[in-house]
């Protein structure tokens, strides 16, 4: 080790930077650079620890698995995703703005806000302007009632129109979704048919192959059986031949016995 250090003194001054460490752990260094870094690691324990830490963080991160997702279908006509999510979002903002404006107007109306700018300067006043004769309490009350009634009416009308608008939007979205679901179902059905057809074809092929195999096996079995039978018949024939031979010999024996008996001298009895 010492020898190497003396021969290559530059190794002592070489110190990889952050960028080099990263390239090292992501395996993006040239062979020469890699060798230098590895040499440095051998000699430098702190650096080794540092790299180990980075690698460990990497290893732990690797434990997150990818989620499996299916991409939705996009349509050019609407430049929108065919999906039900977040379709209601776009109209909420204008509606909120409209509601805020009407609220400000209503509040202004209720509190009788008056803003004037004249020679006396800028002035802002709330409430009913006092006239010379003034209003009686009941008159004020009736005025307020009237104002409330008018406001309620306007508000209800606004609410109604908003409701209708929302309903229309929901209807159109629902129709669109239904169309998409239908087309999706048709696509799914076609796909299923295709899959089923493929399966049927495969199963037919398998069945045919199986039948062929069975027939072949049966033919072999028959052939073997035939050979066995033939051997048995052959054996029987051989037995028969043996028997015949034996019979012939016995017959010959008998005949020769008879013949010798016939030719025996009579005096022997």
């Amino acid at each position: 080790m010492k020898k190497i250090l003396i021969k290559k003194p530059f190794i002592m001054s070489y110190k990889p930077d952050e960028s080099t460490w990263l390239s090292y752990i992501y395996d993006e260094l040239s062979a020469k650079e890699r060798k230098e870094v590895e040499q440095y690691l051998i000699e430098n324990e702190d650096a080794r620890k540092e790299v180990e830490e980075l690698k460990e963080a990497q290893a732990v991160l690797g434990k997150i698995r990818d989620r499996e997702v299916t991409a939705p279908t996009f349509s050019f006509d609407t430049a929108k995703v065919i999906s039900m999510s977040n379709t209601e979002k776009w109209w909420r903002k204008p509606l909120a703005v409209a509601a805020s404006i009407s609220l400000i107007i209503l509040t202004g109306y209720f509190v009788q806000l008056k803003i004037s700018y004249g020679e006396e300067g800028f002035s802002m006043a709330f409430g009913v302007q006092q006239s010379s004769q003034g209003y009686s309490e009941s008159e004020v009350e009736s005025l307020i009632q009237k104002a409330i009634a008018t406001n309620n009416e306007t508000f209800l009308e606004q609410l109604k129109s908003s409701e209708e608008e929302v309903k229309k939007l929901v209807d159109s979205e629902a129709k669109k979704s239904k169309r998409e679901i239908d087309s999706y179902l048709i696509a799914q059905r076609n796909q299923s048919i295709e899959v089923l057809r493929g399966l049927t074809e495969q199963s037919e092929l398998a069945q045919q192959k199986y039948t062929d195999d069975v027939l072949q096996d049966f033919a072999i079995f028959l052939e073997l059986q035939r050979q066995d039978d033939m051997e048995v018949i052959q054996a029987r024939f051989e037995n028969l031949a043996d028997d015949t031979q034996l019979n012939r010999m016995q017959t010959n024996q008998l005949i020769s016995n008879l013949y010798s008996d016939e030719n025996r001298p009579a005096n022997q009895y």
Binding site: R65, D66, F74
Partner: protein, 210 residues
């Protein structure tokens, strides 16, 4: 496998962009299906909420459709796509942090049971029945740790670690120099290691958990 998929995507992407620009709806949808899963998983690691992620991913591809003609070099589609997705993720992140009132809160569910909700903890929609409880728990902690990083560091880590992007591609996507990207990645990984140590997550405990 993942890298192979990405390479395959690169081969087809250019021709699909040409066809989509010429008005071929099927080509555009094919382009979407090539990149949908990547963008979905990229965004999920940014915000840790599956509903929000689905929304971000859809908005990303609508933006892609609307701005595809502005993309000058077709070969830069990948960084460009990730830049759009990143912007939507940042936007959602800011919206989320604005609406968040108490960082560590008690919330009650419909039955009135009071449960404790930690800062950045994953929501119910995070549940995936395919994964074991330990895997889900580990992922929840990792998402939580990622969520505690700065947006810039998080983007770089996800792009490098999970999307396998080259440094120059990340630099292009995030509109920064390669050196800046490397610095962010280095600091991000260091910070992440500290966060993981705090939660006692390391090589040994992972093996024990799984």
């Amino acid at each position: 496998m993942q890298a192979a998929q990405v390479n395959q995507s690169m081969i087809n992407t250019s021709s699909l962009i040409e066809s989509a620009l010429a008005g071929d709806e099927a080509a555009f949808n094919q382009l979407v299906s090539l990149w949908y899963k990547r963008i979905y998983n990229y965004s999920l690691k940014h915000c840790g909420d599956e509903d929000l992620t689905a929304d971000i991913t859809q908005r990303t591809f609508i933006a892609v459709y609307r701005n595809l003609s502005k993309l000058k070099e077709k070969s830069r589609f990948k960084p460009w796509l990730y830049r759009i997705a990143t912007n939507f993720c940042y936007e959602e992140g800011r919206r989320k942090s604005k609406s968040k009132t108490v960082p560590f809160a008690f919330s009650s569910n419909e039955e009135g049971e009071v449960t404790m909700v930690g800062d950045g903890e994953a929501k119910g929609s995070f549940f995936n029945p395919e994964h074991s409880f330990q895997q889900q728990e580990l992922e929840r902690i990792l998402f939580d740790c990622l969520g505690q990083l700065s947006e810039d560091q998080r983007s770089v880590i996800i792009m490098k670690e999970y999307e396998g992007m080259k440094f120059h591609e990340i630099a292009d996507a995030l509109n920064a120099s390669e050196n800046t990207i490397k610095t962010r990645l280095y600091r991000g990984l260091k910070t992440l290691k500290l966060k993981l140590d705090e939660k006692n997550i390391n090589k040994e405990t992972i093996h024990y958990e799984l």
